[in-house]
């Protein structure tokens, strides 16, 4: 027996209490004379009665302890800048490489040194060492793992937390504004799916291996996007921390 076409759209709303009183009465009158629709409603309520309960859910042992341990871990480095997401490490690695190159170039141009191997140890005038020591000082988790005498190229293999700090340092020292702009971090924006739909529909995106959509915008478009975000109430949704990237958020890079 099939339910009546006229009432097909109303039965679920009836079952879920989403109808007005008048509509409910109408459906009830129909049910009184239509066994097929009545059977559908009965079955739906039977499903509801037997549906698994939240309270019957058996949590894995120590679930909340595990959550809090993970949070303590993530927070030790300074919330909300860090996350345990592996994906971020892979996003930041190429960026760090850029930072390293920029620092390297600045360093060699500025101080006329051939190789900044001693960065952070004695040549505290180089920008590289500034970035390194700032990063090390602000990051307990990484302090032990990072040798200050390593060459800048090795930053490519460093932990994301360190790179992020290094990138911040670079952008702060190069234009002085990036560090104070919460929506921007070294020319990267994180946008919610809604924001992406609203502002990026005309742009092409590339999906990285973690399934995160990445847009690269010209400086002009990037600025326009920043302005657009400032002009809407969406602005508050811009996440300054890509480490906390929820699913379906996208990344926007500023092209050089």
């Amino acid at each position: 027996m099939n339910i009546c076409e006229n009432y097909a759209a109303l039965l679920d709303l009836y079952i879920d209490g989403e109808l007005s009183v008048a509509e409910m009465e109408d459906v009830q009158q129909h049910l009184a004379v239509c066994p097929a629709c009545q059977a559908y409603v009965d079955d739906a309520f039977a499903i509801r009665a037997a549906f698994p309960d939240v309270e019957d859910t058996v949590l894995p042992e120590d679930f909340s302890a595990g959550v809090m341990a993970a949070i303590a871990n993530a927070s030790r480095a300074a919330r909300p800048r860090r996350s345990q997401k592996r994906s971020w490490t892979r996003i930041i690695a190429p960026l760090a490489a850029c930072c390293a190159i920029v620092l390297f170039v600045q360093n060699t141009n500025g101080s006329k040194k051939d190789a900044p191997m001693a960065a952070g140890s004695s040549s505290s005038t180089t920008s590289t060492s500034v970035a390194y020591s700032a990063a090390s000082a602000s990051d307990d988790a990484m302090a032990g793992g990072m040798m200050k005498s390593e060459a800048p190229e090795s930053m490519v293999t460093m932990d994301s937390a360190m790179m992020e700090t290094a990138c911040d340092q670079k952008s702060a020292s190069s234009d002085g504004t990036a560090a104070t702009e919460p929506a921007m971090r070294g020319g990267i924006l994180c946008l919610s799916p809604e924001q992406a739909e609203a502002h990026l529909s005309g742009h092409d995106a590339v999906e990285n291996e973690d399934g995160i959509l990445c847009y690269t915008l010209s400086a002009e478009d990037y600025t326009a996007l920043l302005n657009a975000l400032e002009q809407t109430e969406d602005e508050r949704n811009v996440i300054s921390d890509t480490g906390a990237l929820p699913a379906d958020y996208v990344l926007v890079y500023q092209a050089d």
């Binding site: 879920d16 009545q38 009665a49 303590a72 949704n237």
Partner: protein
Amino acid sequence: MNDLQEQNWIAAAASGDQEAFAQLVHMYEKKVYALTLRMCKNPEDAAEAAQEAFLSAWQALPFFRQEAQFSTWLYRLASNACVDLLRREKRHRVNAAVSLDDEDVTLDFADDNALQPHAEAERSELRAQIEEGLQSLSEEHRAVLVLREMHQLSYDEIADTLDLDVGTVKSRISRARGQLRKYLLKNGNFSPPAASKETEREGR
């Protein structure tokens, strides 16, 4: 549990109070895990997704808009974490011919028709079938029905949680329920007796 208390915990957790966040975890862990358990293929993935949801919540809490419902926001993070996980798995899965779940779906329950007399036993059997039936639905349909029946969200709240318009929620619920019913009818002891079953949870 009152709303004010929850608001206080949310505010405290947003400013970095881990104790307050632990309270929120206790308050919501079952609800979140109940959702991820139905969305994911196995308990391990479900636990991972649930943990991921809480981690995301902790990290994004400073950006949480107070006018939004914390619970729906959390369910949204959980549902996103599941979708994320499923997507990742799909990418890593190498043409595994037929998944276990697909086999489960085609299991024939005709032999189970010998009805247990006890109503409670009958109900738990139906519950088991519902669990199986849910797995036969698509992710989208499963999510709306679980949020409706287990978490007892209204259509508006489901729309908020899954970022859908209410019209889509309506049609998905209708489709999901219809498919689940069909599954239960096809697989056995869910037809004539159902009409006389109790409707204890009618309404919300």
